[in-house]
Symmetry: C2
Subunit: 248 residues, 2 copies
Amino acid sequence: MPLHFTSERHLDDGVVEREFTLGEIPGILWTPASMSTSAPVPLILLGHPTLGLHKMYPRLVARARHAAADGFASATIELPGCGDRPRIPALEQARADLRLVLEAGEPVTDEIIDALTLPLVDKAVPEWREALDAFLELPEIGGPVGYSGGVISIGVRLAATDPRIVAAGLFAGSFVPRATYEEARRVTIPLHVLLQWDDERNDRQAALNLFDAFASKEKCLNANMGGHTGVPPHAGDAASNFFTRHLK
Amino acid sequence: MPLHFTSERHLDDGVVEREFTLGEIPGILWTPASMSTSAPVPLILLGHPTLGLHKMYPRLVARARHAAADGFASATIELPGCGDRPRIPALEQARADLRLVLEAGEPVTDEIIDALTLPLVDKAVPEWREALDAFLELPEIGGPVGYSGGVISIGVRLAATDPRIVAAGLFAGSFVPRATYEEARRVTIPLHVLLQWDDERNDRQAALNLFDAFASKEKCLNANMGGHTGVPPHAGDAASNFFTRHLK
């Protein structure tokens, strides 16, 4: 299925931002300035949490500008059941269950984590792969391809199963379902894993165990102080250096 | 006590390497090219393990060249009881005890770790401070000052007690005596901590606990795959970016 572009604008740094739909799925593609005169560029898939593209836009465009400055195109799509997409009843139920458990101060069980994440991963990963098919049809996009960001279970499955993705920068800031540890053992591409040491939404030991599980010969854990949204700017620079090493 | 320079040579990248003695202690000072025309530069103290300066020279000069390329002077001194310096009987005994325990496959106890490290730290830290007095007397050295490298207990005590040191890059690759965790709670300067995930000479959980203990608001753990001597080149670049952020 090809991309259908619905808007195009030029940001002040020359980056071209185009909104598109891929069937029912909205998304955004960013390409560096002066693409028309240059060779096809590598691509970074920008993963993000389930807050919806509108809410995530400021952080996504900042990452896209950073990628463009390094010579990379970047792209994102809306996750299933998020933003303006139709709600998924099972996921809504799982989120309601999570809220009840958190309000009651009870532990978040593996069953709740599975219900929150596995249906999302099962739907999102084929959509990302279909979107990647479409991105790679564009003359301005070459390769190689990297994946960057959360939801970590989505990034892990993409890294484990799509050979077009040659490097991944993962954010260990989501719940980790048990199945993801097993999938992590099949990941062999270079990884850069970001961890917020005092992430209030994240179990630090679970993140360290996940990092340990990856089979990649090159994996780097970059842990910084602060909570979920407190990632320091230099961590972005470190991730950028990682992609420059592996996508160029 | 002033430095007594005993040799001077110019490396191919213009870096000036001067050997010196500070009383009985030999050391090396590296300054960037074309220092004579420029303002005093920041200084990085290059920590190193107990193998002696001769053995460590290739790695030290590589770090010194990297520092000089970033605009920093760097300097190191021989550790007590190491290299050509007189042996310290208590440390020799502790090393012999460690070898026996390792050969017998027995656990390395806290008592052995204390005996191996604490006398060394007690002697080395005042020497580093005295050397720093002398470095800062030189017209070509300004500040601020960073400490980089092992032995981690030496770096921790210097970071906790010498206010002239404003940032430290520590290598979590040595035994950690119990006292060092307590001292770590008094460290508040920015830290960049390097950990080799599969370091055969290092207890990973001990290193993670030490990282957790530091009181610094800015601390970054950079963990990479491989054994004690397998630190990847990009980890050096990350440390270099850290010092550039904090010493410039």
